[in-house]
């Protein structure tokens, strides 16, 4: 098995227990009493409608999750689909939604805890809040330390819960009295109008399934297991809710059902005599387990959202550092945990606010997710290839948006306003922090910008206004990236890159590639890091000076690299670079490190790559040896760029035994590539000797890679090119990728 497969250890049952375990904590143990008082017996319909809304969204989550089984779930989908502005809203919304939900679960835990052990009131806190704060603190501590919990525990807990509920259902069914269910006012004492507000209240009972998508990265065979687990767990809990809530309301009249510990009360009535005490104790333990596992899963899920946002640089990666001893994302957990405790203390007197705020934020994320799904489908993103597709597209995602947003008015103005504060906060955060840091643009804005002509100006303008700063400059022309590591050899690289950028009317992205130096003791490596920024600054100053004559925009970036040339290529893709210029010596030094076990270096280059052998060079006379074919288009372009930018004279060399045929070929080739005013040379004999002779009195040789993967192999050290090493003249090796796929252009 590969490393990747071993990293995935959640099977179908595990994934379903995560979903079910998270959901039933709320729906069965906490909410029935509150919800029944709000809607009467028809609250069962509220649960069913909540289940249907959840199911519509579950279908969309399944499609997105199988297309992108990554940590972060809803946030990740929205960020990829709608871009980082909506990504920030979804990320913060999901995160805060989970914090509210965890606070709600903790209150639920506190409610049952106080039936076991009386808690004191402290200051403005009720006994339940005190219990919830203790519970919340324990959940956070457990996750900070990273208690040893294995899959068995999770499965056992859910199995116990389902058994307890099964026993309750059987005994409850025997005590069930339809007369109690209908009571005095019939099934709809508050009218049918109470059904949807009831759904708004209980929707928090359905939030668990999205957690499965949040940990999709850890799922075995996500294409098959993710949709089954998500759809399956929603279906199962919806049926469970409908049956168990009906039974509860057939045992205890709805106006009397406890708001704090409804299942305990129903159990007390259903079981008679001495058995009742035992049954109540069992149910209470079940309630504690259920609410604890819900809170736990939510805290773990929120760390995934932080991680995914950190990966996209929408929050600082500082937040995601792993504790050296406990191997947990402790800062993320402390921050989330702190918010949970604040929510419990400030809002915990009213269970409903926490439940509803969690629902509102999740519903907003669901609506965005459905919109992202539509964008992925419509923008025809090439690598969007979900194993599971929603039925009845586009009806299903549109229904998801309508249902999710449509439920908001029934939830309550107070909670919607509270959530709006977080949405606005996310937008502000994006504009003051995220926009300066995040590199990624969504499929939506790429789609809009690519069709600039066909779209109304206001739409294109809006897409550009909210796009990350990084992407802004993409509209000003192609980007040429130069990878620098050694200040001594930086100048020729910058000159070459600037010339190409200036000829194309593009900009220069100067990058400082910092590796952990081989010659430095590890203990010194961390101190070295602090000097790095100083090094970078000096290198960039030099690069700006070298680039100055070309009058092109220059941007700079430091890239910390431990893996070598792959990270240079990754950076090139990330910044949507058209041409990378790097040095031969530096490339090979980087490359020496690449053979690590985890490296999966493909031979393909992500964009045009120029490798220069780092001699000082005189670009005023350029030799282009050609045999036509692969990458020779690029060498011609580079020569033209130098002609354009520094007035270089170009000589084209072709080696052929037949002089006439050679002259015919070379004249054609030069004309085809727009090379006018060039000297055409045809030589006989050995190719390398001919190049060497012709190069002797010229400043620079530009060679197109003769086959795909040449640059990568040079970088990996598996190929040494004598022409790059032996010639006294400077040499540029140019390689162009065969065809850039749409995927690369969209996602980079």
């Amino acid at each position: 098995m590969s490393d990747d497969e071993l990293a995935k250890d959640l099977g179908l049952v595990s994934a379903m227990t995560i979903g079910i375990g998270t959901m039933i904590g709320a729906g069965i143990f906490v909410l029935p009493g509150v919800a029944a008082r709000a809607a009467g017996p028809v609250v069962v319909a509220s649960f069913v409608i909540g289940g249907i809304i959840a199911m519509v969204n579950a279908l969309s989550v399944s499609e997105l999750g199988t297309a992108m089984p990554k940590a972060g779930g809803g946030y990740y989908f929205v960020n990829r689909g709608l871009g980082p502005l909506f990504g920030s809203i979804a990320g913060l919304g999901d995160w805060m939604g989970l914090a509210f939900a965890s606070a709600f679960y903790s209150i639920g835990f506190g409610q049952y805890l106080t039936t076991l052990a009386p808690m004191p009131d402290v200051l403005f806190l009720t006994d339940i809040q005190v219990g919830a704060l203790i519970a919340g603190a324990v959940f956070v501590a457990v996750n900070y330390i990273g208690a040893k919990e294995t899959g068995g525990v999770q499965t056992v807990i859910v199995t116990i819960l389902l058994s307890i509920l099964g026993l309750f259902a059987i005994q409850g069914f025997l005590s069930f009295d339809y007369g109690v269910l209908t009571g005095d006012g019939g099934l709809t004492p508050m009218g049918y109008g109470a059904i949807l507000p009831g759904t708004g209240l209980v929707f928090v009972s359905f939030l668990g399934y999205a957690k499965i998508a949040t940990v999709a990265e850890e799922l075995k065979n996500p294409g098959r297991n993710l949709p089954r687990a998500i759809i399956g767990s929603v279906a199962i809990v919806t049926v469970l809710y409908a049956i168990l809530v009906s039974i509860m309301l057939g045992i205890v009249p709805w106006p009397e059902l406890s708001e704090d510990a409804p299942l305990t009360q129903a159990t007390e009535v259903a079981f008679s005599g001495g058995l009742a005490t035992v049954a109540v104790a069992v149910v209470t333990v079940g309630a504690l387990l259920a609410t604890a596992s819900s809170a736990n899963a939510s805290i773990l899920a929120s760390a995934r959202i932080n991680f995914a946002m950190g990966r996209d640089k929408l929050v600082s990666n500082w937040l995601n550092e792993i504790h050296p001893q406990f191997a947990t994302p402790y800062r993320s957990i402390i921050l989330t945990g702190g918010m949970i405790l604040v929510f419990i203390a400030l809002l915990g007197q009213d269970l409903e606010i926490l439940a509803k705020a969690a629902s509102v934020l999740h519903l907003v994320v669901y609506a965005l997710m459905n919109a992202a799904l539509i964008v992925f489908r419509e923008a025809d993103v090439a690598d969007y290839d979900p194993d599971f597709e929603v039925p009845l597209y586009p009806f299903t995602p549109i229904a998801g948006i309508v249902c999710s947003l449509g439920l908001l008015p029934f939830i309550g103005a107070q909670e919607v306003a509270l959530s709006a504060v977080f949405v606005v906060g996310a937008v502000v955060w994006y504009f003051i922090y995220g926009r300066r840091h995040t590199p990624g643009e969504g499929a939506l804005s790429r789609y809009v910008r690519k069709r600039e002509g066909a779209m109304p100006d206001s739409v294109v303008g809006a897409a550009e206004t909210v796009a990350p700063n990084e992407a802004d400059s993409a509209s000003t022309g192609p980007t040429v990236m130069v990878a620098l590591s050694n200040p001594a050899t930086a100048s020729p690289l910058v000159t070459l890159a600037s010339a190409v950028a200036s000829a194309k009317g593009g900009r220069l992205l100067a990058t400082h590639i910092v590796t952990v130096p081989d010659q430095t003791a590890l203990s010194a490596a961390s101190e070295q890091r602090e000097e790095t920024s100083e090094d970078s600054r000096r290198l960039f100053d030099q690069a700006r000076t070298d680039a100055e004559p070309f009058e092109i925009p220059v941007e700079t970036r430091t890239i910390l690299s431990h893996q070598g040339v792959t990270e240079v290529f990754d950076a090139a893709t990330e910044h949507d670079v058209d041409t990378v210029v790097m040095g031969y010596g530096g490339t090979r030094r980087l490359g020496g490190r690449v053979e690590g076990a985890f490296e999966e270096l493909t031979d393909r280059v992500p964009c045009d790559v120029l490798v220069l052998n780092e001699h000082e060079f005189d670009p005023s006379s350029v030799l282009v040896p050609t045999a036509g074919g692969y990458s020779s288009d690029l060498s011609a372009e580079v020569a033209l760029a130098l002609q354009d930018a520094v007035g270089a004279t170009i000589s084209v060399l072709y080696v052929d035994e037949d002089r006439d045929a050679g002259e015919a070929f070379i004249a054609d080739w030069a004309a085809e590539h727009g090379l006018a005013d060039v000297e055409l040379l045809v030589e006989r004999g050995d190719v390398e000797t001919a190049i060497e002779a012709a190069a002797a009195d010229r400043g620079l040789v530009v060679i197109g890679a003769s086959e795909e993967g040449l640059v990568s192999r040079v970088a990996r050290g598996s190929l040494a090119l004598s022409v790059l090493e032996d010639l006294d003249t400077s040499v540029v090796l140019a390689e162009r990728p065969h065809d850039r796929t749409l995927r690369e252009r969209l996602f980079g």
């Binding site: 959640l10 595990s14 990273g146 294995t150 947990t328 130096p517 590890l522 985890f598």
Partner: protein, 141 residues
Amino acid sequence: MGLLDHVVVPVATEADSRATLRALEPYLDDITRITAVHVIEKGGGTIDKAPVGKRQADGEELLATFEAEVGREMPVDTRIDFGTDVVDTIVEAAIDAGGTAIAFRPRGESKIIRLLSGNTADGLVSEPKLPVIALPDPAQE
């Protein structure tokens, strides 16, 4: 075959890696080959305590610095292994890599930390399947 022919070294954190390297230094001449192992603890069916993508990225970085440091002296293999039990996984990785011994630097955790996070050192030496070498801290002589 000598005991130090192919030494398997578990590496947990940056600090651990530095301490291990310091402790290994006096013996480098006797060692022919090193395999550095970074183990990522898995839930085995429950949500992991940390995002696995983060753990992998950190592990790769850690092993790259380790390799850069020792790679000049001798051949170094690096590997990331996943398992629900850190000790078992280290041992399995060592056997799989064909190591002759496992060498590690005890991290000197306090009792309370051992209790909370489990102690790898105890586990490694209590039921060895390969020779296990606990490296002394050269600074403490």
